[in-house]
Symmetry: C2
Subunit: 411 residues, 2 copies
């Protein structure tokens, strides 16, 4: 049986998961591909560190050594940093290798360039693992919804933030305590900025935007808010209304423009994200033929991410036409979101009355925390005049919210 | 631009949805396929009935006329009955056409035969629309999880049953009232047997079983229970415990045997199916690499079903190798479910004590409705001795259930 030679760049959690899965699922891979998959090389930072890697595998700290292997078909990149991974993958493509990456930051910055280069060199690019871990959202958008025109995407894309918000509510802990717990569980880095300030979700959002709409918004126009300002007090006030904070990425088309935001939003129990808890991720896709589909599953971890990469390995090896859907052009203008439309908001930190006659007080939920109704524009202006104001959009239907307010009052 | 000629068999809700979607998405189809898709013929029962179909389309009541068209590439079957659709599709394959079907009963009976015949004739079979409407579960199992070994599938596969259970709980209506409402809304047939007795879900379960495990259980061994015995009283007792009745299809491997059941089960709010309400469907797939993934979306309706068929149309036209995953062999024996393992049950209709020392009373929830703990075997024996007993498995973790019981007592 002929062989597919693979190099794995990086041997952290994800790289090791990929290595182990290639061993444990060698029969499935051979049956599907008609060829044996062999790990030819692993790129590491420190060759001395003891690792459970077969002696036949080239273990090296020098990527050039990998490039010079006589036979190499696929390069799988499991490194976190943006550089030098981009240059590694460019060289791999130029050598005629398919590439697979789990690196969202690098891919958000350089995905287009890599895909164009891959088309020139007749190889494929797999990037399922960059968004939502083991949930096959990239393939669902790229392969299963080819005729549906995507209208809007919502996503819980950062498991760390979702874990912290869940812990804060469930265990009545502060943000700091919950962050510590996330770090103890290995869900958050020592420096958690990327996760809790929304950068990680932002990169994933840009990748999804390009895949679903063929383009992305100007990065500077995207509202990116993390979860660091969510206090126990806010969480409790929301809970009394039957609402939960979720850190939600949204992508939609307004006129001819793609718009996106990544920020804490409130959802009620009728929303498919209400029960997405802990480190789970979820993506809700609204398309013009099928309507709304929600995919939910593990957003990170050794084996969920390895799953995405191993399934990508099959796809890149089987794709007869090395054409990517990543650059497909978007359909017609679909959803015209009206910024003058009145919505509900949870608002804290008002130092004086809401100021605009267009903003209505719905209720004071607890001391200093209000539900207001008004357009996005009006609320933004309010926050400009009163910089102490924090405001959070409440998704879902009015009936649910009104019921929640009544029940909160009855307590 | 060359043309893909399509025939649509049946012009009910689904057939009309497919026809309209081919018109409305002709640009997307042409861009994806590089060919124009044209509806060459529609098979109807009554040619006189006025329909919004272009004059260029052959409208006929005679399938042979369609078979004799000089050019025909794909036959899309949107008829409900098992016969004569099977013979139509066999003839279409023998003529060299790809086929696509939405007919779960026919496909559960004859899917294997059609797929084998299609392989002989080098054409493809699309059957995404047979299970879970617009949710791309067939393609996810067949195309996106090729290396993952499926261990267990759970599904809410019948929208009518789920709608009725939701209405009963939400509106505090009887089964009969909720069924009537389902009929008024067009969610249930005049004769609802297929839906409310679990036959529809059963056929879908067999299709999923074959796709995920390469085989299906002996049909006679599958426990198939509908929702007709679920009373308002049971629903209320469950709700007081924080539980909801869902009509759930389960497929798992026990030793080397595939087992399946289709029946009402209780789930708590931590379960991904708890919030699947109304006519929505959901499928939860547990695989060995990725873990659990849940797909949720519209399980029926004109456009969700048309979406599944249109996306299948792209797949059958693009598949270079007319190989189907339907017959793939299953992985190793994975989940050994122990029938002696003690679980929780909601039980009604006990005429005497539970009889077996192996069965423990957890609590009497309301008059005559108990939560018991015992193995499946013990509960089945109890029900054999006391035929008035109805029992329902409670999914989920113990902690949730205990909390639910405490809260119910506090009311």
């Amino acid at each position: 049986m002929s062989v597919i030679n693979v190099a794995i760049l990086g041997f952290g959690t994800v790289g090791e998961g990929v290595y182990r899965t290639i061993q444990s699922h060698s029969n499935e891979l051979a049956a599907e591909l008609g060829k044996e998959v062999e790990v030819a090389a692993v790129l590491v930072r420190n060759k001395q560190k003891p690792r459970d890697i077969s002696g036949n595998v080239l273990l090296t700290t020098d990527f050039e050594e990998i490039l010079q292997l006589p036979k190499l078909d696929v390069v799988i990149e499991c490194i976190v940093d943006k550089d030098p991974t981009f240059s590694y993958l460019k060289k791999a493509i130029q050598r005629g290798c398919h590439i697979i990456t789990a690196n969202k930051e690098m891919f958000a910055h350089h995905g287009n360039e890599l895909i164009e280069l891959a088309e020139q060199h007749q190889v494929s690019v797999g990037f399922e693992a960059t968004v939502a871990g083991g949930i096959p959202v990239i393939q669902t958008l790229g392969q299963l919804l080819k005729i549906n025109r995507v209208q809007r995407i919502l996503g819980i894309l950062n498991g760390t933030s979702n874990f912290i918000l869940t812990e804060m509510r469930d265990k009545r802990q502060s943000f700091a305590e919950s962050l510590l717990r996330a770090q103890e569980n290995g869900y958050a880095e020592a420096d958690p900025t990327n996760d809790v300030e929304g950068y990680d979700a932002f990169y994933k959002t840009m990748i999804l935007s390009r895949l679903a709409f063929g383009e992305e918004p100007d990065w500077r126009d995207v509202e990116r808010v993390g979860i660091t300002s969510i206090t126990s007090e806010l969480i409790e006030a929301a809970q009394n209304l039957g609402l939960r904070f979720k850190h939600i990425a949204s992508i939609w088309k307004s006129g001819t423009r793609i718009q996106a935001s990544v920020k804490p939003v409130l959802v009620g129990s009728e929303h498919p994200f209400y029960h997405v808890e802990g480190v789970e991720n979820a993506v809700n896709v609204k398309s013009d033929i099928v309507g709304e589909i929600t995919l939910q599953g593990p957003g990170a971890g050794m084996y969920p991410t390895a799953s995405a990469i191993i399934e990508d390995l099959v796809h890149v090896c089987q794709s007869h036409v090395p054409k990517s859907n990543y650059l497909k052009t978007s359909g017609e203008d679909i959803e015209l979101k009206n910024e003058h439309q009145r919505e509900y908001w949870l608002v804290q930190g008002l130092v004086q009355k809401y100021g605009s006659p267009a903003i209505t007080l719905v209720d004071e939920i607890s001391e200093g925390i209000f539900v207001l109704k008004g357009s996005k524009k009006d609320i933004e202006q309010l926050a400009q005049r009163q910089p102490s104001v924090q405001y959070f959009s409440i998704l879902g239907n009015e009936e649910f919210l009104v019921r929640g307010i009544e029940e909160a009052k009855a307590l």
